[in-house]
């Protein structure tokens, strides 16, 4: 698997995400936000967590309009894979690649702790290493993780089995406890929790490893 991780000014999980991909065996290239093209024949684009552009205006809004994101949108429209974590999820919703928006946490506090996630759908390249209903422990670290979609869109997400993860104990007020959703073609995943921070024995848990391994398997068999 050839992966690219985009680096924005203010990204702070870009190296963690790259390491998680590398530890699973991927070949990773870091890409600067001003670049106008992704490297050739990239399978997967990682959109990392952090505070791109200082979260000015709205989280992810300015990053979503940076030059590299045009390439990211084209990559996704061609059927390429993308994983957005935390600020990366916010950026993916701002680009329109994923539905909904992330609002300020209902309790107004920045929350940084490990939470339980239920695997709501194992039918994605990202979650095929888990079984539906599995509960995994993955850290969150966000101020604006309160997922919003309209009732109509929520019904559609449910019908299409596009909710990848839900919180076992909703920390932020997200609609329907949603922690992560996939695109209609199931190849773009956005999630607030950080699987790359649960991907090494030095971390407090390794429940995220199965995601990166499953992605590698996907491309090994493709």
């Amino acid at each position: 698997m050839k992966a690219a991780v985009i680096v924005f000014p203010g990204s702070n999980c870009d190296r963690d995400l790259a390491v998680a991909f590398e530890q699973a065996g991927a070949d990773v290239t870091m890409v600067w936000h001003k670049d106008t093209a992704l490297p050739e024949s990239i399978d997967m684009v990682g959109v990392p967590g952090g505070f791109s552009f200082g979260d000015y205006l709205r989280c992810g809004a300015i990053a979503a309009n940076s030059p590299i994101c045009q390439s990211l949108i084209q990559h996704a429209e061609r059927g390429g894979y993308a994983l957005g974590v935390c600020n990366g999820f916010q950026i993916l919703t701002e680009t329109g690649l994923l539905p909904g928006a992330l609002r300020r946490n209902a309790g107004l506090k920045y929350i940084c702790r490990t939470v339980g996630l239920e695997v709501a759908s194992a039918d994605t390249a990202f979650t095929s290493g888990y079984s539906q209903g599995d509960v995994v422990n993955v850290p969150i670290a966000h101020h604006d993780g309160n997922y919003f979609v309209t009732d109509e869109k929520l019904a559609q997400l449910r019908d299409e089995d596009r909710i990848a993860f839900t919180y076992t104990d909703n920390p932020n007020g997200s609609v329907a406890d949603i922690a992560g959703v996939v695109s209609k073609n199931r190849r773009v995943l956005g999630m607030m929790p950080h699987p790359e921070r649960a991907a090494d024995t030095g971390h407090n848990g390794t429940d995220g490893v199965a995601m990166f391994r499953a992605l590698m398997d996907q491309f090994a068999t493709a």
């Binding site: 205006l57 709205r58 809004a61 309009n65 909904g100 928006a101 609002r103 209902a106 107004l108 919003f148």
Partner: protein, 76 residues
């Protein structure tokens, strides 16, 4: 010329910051504050001749997230 853009969370989208402000006003003794919605105002200095349609496009593309926010443009 100037334009002013007001961005608010849409009705029906919970505004936790507005709620916190409402509680704070209540604890200061201001009774009867039944709702607070917090938004933002963006002032633009524009070249002469910039149209309202252009500012609207700016809102659609960047200044507001129309999934959760509504906006209003005031020119001049």
């Amino acid at each position: 010329m100037k334009a002013r853009v007001y961005v608010m969370l849409k009705n029906g989208v919970l505004d936790p910051q507005g709620e916190a402000v409402r509680h704070a006003l209540g604890s200061l003794g201001f009774d009867g504050v039944e709702g607070v919605r917090q938004g933002k105002v963006i002032e633009l200095d524009l070249a002469e001749g910039t149209t309202e349609a252009t500012v609207t496009e700016m809102c659609e593309k960047l200044l507001a997230n129309t999934v959760i926010e509504s906006y209003r443009v005031e020119m001049g």
